[in-house]
């Protein structure tokens, strides 16, 4: 065999043959996310729908300052999709589009706040139970189970039958305070699986207090999961609020999509065929919640490479 002579090609380890410098892993990961985000049909379609609806909700009432409860003394109008008469008027001459835009605002508000509160509680309970384990976990589990099983509609029935004046804030807080159990369960499960990883042991060994470990080590590793959970809570809150408003347990005063349907039913819109009174609010909800769910799936595919289609 020939002797192993020859010049050792003195190459810097970070430059390969093609002269490319491999990007540091973190930067590449973020760029990769952006790449897939912009190519995900599900994400793009859903986020456009949501942005459009948000625009209607925020800008709509500003541009079209019709009071949703103002009753015009003219015969009821059918919708014509012209500016000024997008969705027609109700039995009482109220502008349906004005109600719709204002109602959409309220829905987004409840979704954002209610979903947010549920997310926070869910994280608190889930992280604590998952990280601590032991009897803390047992107690929190029991509390979660109790909240999970109680039909919250029933609780609200009793509360609101005595609370005469209620605002949107109350509704958001109530929804947030009762829809967190499934999120807590899910976060707890994820925390459990992360807890046994080596980098957590390392953090603990270096003396980091528990809450710091949760905030700085565990949560960032679950950030995509937490975000997806929030999206689902957001959508769920909107649906719950719509049901509550529809029964008459929503905020007193103000406007909401559920309230529109409540009014429609109470004033015999069905029997009179006034479909434009109850169809738009439902479509608004379906569009919002549906877009949120699809966005959830799209983002899941982006964050989880195994799910990406070819």
């Amino acid at each position: 065999m020939t002797a192993m002579t020859g010049t050792a090609a003195e190459k810097s380890p970070s430059v390969d043959d093609a002269g490319n410098v491999p990007a540091p892993a973190a930067k590449r990961a973020r760029g990769e996310f952006l790449f897939f985000t912009l190519r995900s049909k599900k994400f793009l379609i859903s986020i456009s729908i949501l942005l459009f609806l948000a625009l209607v909700a925020i800008v709509g009432p500003m541009v079209d300052s019709t009071d949703p409860l103002a009753q015009e003394m003219l015969p009821m109008r059918h919708p014509t999709l012209d500016p000024g008469n997008w969705f027609g008027t109700t039995y009482f001459g109220e502008d349906v589009f004005a109600q719709f835009a204002n109602g959409l605002r309220a829905s987004f508000f409840v979704g954002f706040l209610g979903g947010g509160l549920a997310a926070i509680i869910g994280m608190l309970v889930g992280f604590l139970a998952g990280y601590r384990g032991g009897w803390v976990d047992e107690i929190l589990n029991m509390i979660t189970n109790v909240f999970l099983v109680i039909p919250t509609l029933a609780v609200l029935l009793v509360i609101t039958s005595y609370l005469q004046a209620r605002g949107v804030m109350f509704e958001a807080i109530f929804i947030g305070g009762t829809s967190w159990p499934w999120a807590a369960r899910a976060i707890r499960a994820q925390t459990f699986s992360l807890r046994s990883r080596d980098f957590i042991d390392l953090a603990k060994l270096s003396g980091r207090p528990g809450w710091k470990v949760i905030i700085f080590e565990i949560a960032p590793n679950m950030s995509s999961y937490l975000f997806l959970t929030y999206i689902l809570l957001f959508g769920g809150a909107i649906l719950i609020a719509a049901s509550l408003d529809f029964i008459g347990l929503g905020p007193t005063g103000g406007m909401s999509l559920g309230l529109m349907m409540y009014s429609a039913v109470t004033w015999a819109a069905l029997q009179l065929g006034i479909w434009w009174w109850f169809v738009p609010p439902g479509v608004g909800i379906i569009a919002t919640v549906g877009a949120l769910y699809v966005m959830n799936v799209g983002l899941d595919e982006i964050f989880n490479p195994k799910l990406r289609e070819m």
Partner: protein, 331 residues
Amino acid sequence: MRRYFGRKLFTYLLTFFVAATIDWLIPRFMPGDPITVLVSKTNTLSPTAAKAMADYYTQLFGFNQPMPMQYLNFWTSLFHGNLGLSLYGNGTPVTTMIMAAVPYTLALLIPAILLSWWAGNSFGALAARRKWLDNTVLPVGYVLTATPYMWLALVLSFLLAFSFRIFPLSGGYGFNLEPTLTWLFFTDLAAHWVLPFLSLFLVMFGGWAIGMRNMIIYELESDYSRYLASLGAPQGLIRKYAFRNAMLPQITGLALQLGVIVAGSLVTEIVFAYPGVGQLVFQAIQNEDYFLLQGIFLFIIVGVLLANFLVDIVYVFVDPRVRVAMRGGTA
């Protein structure tokens, strides 16, 4: 086995206890006074008459006794099946009113839940296998599950009852009929049942279909599926295993969804003025009938807890891992 169920039972009893206590507490700690509201409803102008009414009601509902006593009374009457008297029903016992409405609600809920669960799971499983079906089922499923129950009820009602008078618009049975054991009555009952049932069924179907489809895909990508495929097992066997394993979370999902489903059936009944528990709730709210509301609340809770317990029992027999864990049999 006993420990497992013992624990579950304890949780459920605890939940019931907490819920019932909340039920009892709220009227006593909320701003406002139920007696005043009651009295004001009777529109008595004379202050002496009003005072007499107030005294009467206070006596009747035991508000003049010390709190602990009231709490005890509450539990005693509960065990006697006495949920108080309804205002809206002009003094009819709450229990009677609920019992009259329950059959209608159950007639809607039970078929809707069972059929949608079965159909949704089957479609979801099929969709996971065929791409063309997946492309239709998936978006439809998402739209359906994002649909508020009452809206679908309104739309179905509008299309099939108002526009094309195929089905009746509202009620449990025709206004001109009395409940009798005749064929005419039953067909009329069924006709009134179809739309509310359909509306509940469709929304739930969407949710199950999507859930099952996702679960099946997850199971088909699992290690055991891969191993079987590597050993040349036919698709039929792999799919059979995947389906069985995907059903398990669907069963627990059923228990979790019960609260949502109950709420959904309530609003659906309201749209159709269908004489079930939901319609009763609506009337109770409109008439500020606290006692009826409280009674319905307790009733719903017991129902949901029972259903949860049933699902727990079924699950133990279906998932062998639970039995193994209970035996403490992990190596």
